[in-house]
């Protein structure tokens, strides 16, 4: 039986991971594997999500297309709470000698046109890794010992603007090589090749979700911060100060002292920050 999110994972554990694929055929195997359902959005993209919050978007082929898709999804997910998602590009690619269906995590991405390279941090163990070269046209010579694709460099650049680099990863499945050239790819096999990498993909999604959750948990701000922001108008700078003060109260184990400041916020907005600021530098009141 093919493992799925359902069989291997707690259903409701948040999975802040965005998967970007270039082609609907690449999404086809991921939809049942990750228990995704089609979303109705006005983004113009085919998008899917599961109960854990995992998202998938089909970008279309090429660097510009993938950049636009990342921006679109990031825009839709923008929030005030500093919460971010991990980004994972899954797709087929070529390689001179690697076996058809073999899968690789990217450890270096080079844009063939510009010559620039990027290095996704390697925090996830247990997956074979390789270099990726992103080309503008389908590659037929595979001159270097690397996987050749058409989106990776642009995906990494775009997604790194939305999340810290550790949370941006790329996973490529070999669809063509010198013996099985790119013009002879059997498209019907694409979902099968991807489905066969289910355990690796689930591992990758799981680890990325764990890392993103760990990053997001440190952004936690006590509820009272949002209550105050909804009660009163604060400038961006005041919001930042209030946010940090709330975090400090929490870190010092004094979050309960924030309980009464809602009231204060209503009547003494301007004083709020200075009162909180001077109070936190005093020892906590004895109860």
């Amino acid at each position: 039986m093919t493992p799925t999110m359902h069989s291997d994972h707690s259903q409701l554990r948040p999975m802040p991971v965005n998967i970007v694929v270039a082609h609907a055929l690449e999404a086809k195997a991921l939809i049942p594997m990750l228990q995704l359902k089609a979303l109705q959005t006005d983004s113009g993209y085919s998008e899917y999500a599961n109960a854990n919050g995992l998202r998938l978007i089909v970008s279309d082929i090429g660097k510009e297309a993938v950049s636009r898709a990342v921006s679109s999804l990031a825009h839709a997910q923008s929030n005030d709470a500093g919460q971010i998602s991990a980004w994972l590009n899954i797709g087929i690619a070529g390689h001179a000698s690697a076996a058809i269906g073999s899968a690789w995590l990217a450890h270096k991405i080079t844009d063939q046109r510009s010559g620039r390279s990027a290095y996704p941090p390697q925090l996830i163990e247990g997956l074979a890794s390789c270099s990726i070269i992103t080309v503008d046209e389908p590659e037929q010579d595979y001159a270097l010992e690397a996987v050749y694709d058409m989106e990776a460099a642009a995906f990494y650049e775009a997604a790194s603007k939305q999340a810290t680099a550790e949370l941006v990863q790329l996973f490529k499945i070999v669809s063509d090589n010198l013996i099985n050239p790119v013009e002879e790819i059997d498209l019907k096999s694409v979902p099968l090749w991807i489905a066969r990498q289910d355990s690796q993909i689930l591992l990758l999604v799981d680890k990325l979700a764990e890392l993103a959750a760990s990053y997001n948990s440190r952004q936690y701000v006590p509820r009272v911060y949002y209550d105050i922001c909804s009660l009163t108008h604060l400038t961006v700078n005041e919001k930042l100060q209030l946010r940090r003060l709330c975090q400090r109260y929490r870190a010092l184990g004094r979050e309960d002292e924030l309980a009464d400041i809602n009231l204060l916020a209503k009547n003494h907005t301007k004083k709020l920050l200075s009162i909180l600021s001077s109070a936190i530098d005093q020892p906590p009141a004895l109860k």
């Binding site: 450890h107 290095y119 390697q122 603007k161 440190r218 400090r248 929490r250 010092l252």
Partner: protein, 328 residues
């Protein structure tokens, strides 16, 4: 030990790099042009990277032996530091390196011979003298089995009896030192904080007992050892925590033979502090009240002077005043 090894193309064929790559054949070996492509890039997260750091093998260009920051050293001699490595295998919450770099990967500069040449030149410029610190941007001993730093650099100081090498560490990787004859102008300086602070803030660091044992073995073998109480932080138990630590240390070590003992307060450049506070908004250390003086940030503590004096009184029960200095 590492998640991957990145290698600058320029050092790829060097013996030192090849030995390291051969030692870790199963890790991804990724070739880059310059280590700056991988290390300390924007949009990197120190805290996430610390979960699984990579090793970067690089060549150090430019100045390799730099003037030590004011107040770093223990005497009036001119003092310098050199860093064959950037970043530390330990994870001490108070460490300024978290604010200095956005990357937790370890950079190992493998052109040791260039460092040796630079040290030779600097020592000669100082008429054979000066104090040379290793362990400012890293823990010099912690990665010894991989770096062979001591094996390479300690013997260099045999040529310069008036110069002094201080190796600052929290590591118990002392085999390389025990396997060679003591070098009289080389000091192994071990840092300590009281047990409750160590448990709370010094992650992945060998226990106090193991560090004392390592110092004891070094002292017994004839090596000069020193103790650094840095940073001094307020313990829940007050100065009693320091008293307990001193008892532990001086019941094992020969206090009279200690090269030196120093203390230093928790302080760092404002920018570093802000970056670390962002990384650890949930950490009590970075939620405390602070004060700023001369561009440095420190914890606000109205009783700091009296606590420091009390700590020093306890310390002087074990060592002489002449053995002690305060780091600025």
């Amino acid at each position: 030990m590492f998640s991957a090894i990145y290698i600058e193309e320029e050092v790829l064929e060097s013996d030192r790099a090849q030995r390291l790559l051969d030692r870790f054949p199963h890790l991804p070996h990724v070739v880059c042009d310059r280590y700056g492509e991988v290390f300390n890039r924007k949009s990197q997260d120190f805290r996430l990277q610390k979960k699984s750091p990579a090793l970067i093998l690089a060549k150090k260009y430019g100045n390799k032996v730099l003037p030590a920051p004011d107040g770093y050293g223990y005497n009036e001699s001119r003092s310098y530091y050199f860093s064959h490595m950037l970043n530390c295998v330990y994870d001490c919450r108070y460490c300024f390196l978290q604010g200095m770099y956005s990357s937790a990967n370890y950079v190992l500069f493998v052109n040791y011979e260039d460092f040796e040449t630079a040290l030779d030149e600097k020592i000669r410029l100082n008429n054979g003298g000066g104090v040379y610190y290793s362990g400012y941007d890293c823990d010099s001993l912690a990665l010894e089995p991989v770096s062979h730093f001591c094996k390479q650099f300690v013997p260099l100081f045999l040529k310069y009896p008036d110069a002094e090498l201080e190796i600052r560490t929290k590591s118990t990787q002392i085999r390389c030192l025990l396997e060679q004859e003591p070098v009289s102008n080389c000091v192994i300086a071990m840092s300590f904080t009281p047990a409750d602070i160590a448990a709370r803030l010094e992650h992945k660091v060998p226990s106090i007992e193991k560090r004392i044992e390592a110092l004891y073995k070094l002292q017994q073998s004839g090596w000069k050892v020193a103790i650094r109480f840095e940073p001094l932080l307020k313990s829940d138990a007050g100065v009693a925590a320091y008293e307990e630590l001193f008892t532990q240390l001086f019941s094992k070590l020969d206090a009279q033979k200690l090269h030196s003992v120093s203390s230093g307060l928790f302080r760092m450049p404002i920018d570093f502090y802000k970056r670390i506070a962002k990384l650890y908004p949930d950490d009590e250390l970075y939620a405390q009240a602070t004060q700023i003086e001369k561009g440095m940030i420190s914890l606000k503590n109205d009783e700091e002077s009296s606590q420091l004096a009390a700590m020093e009184r306890l310390l002087f029960k074990h060592i002489s005043v002449q053995q002690y200095y305060r780091c600025a």
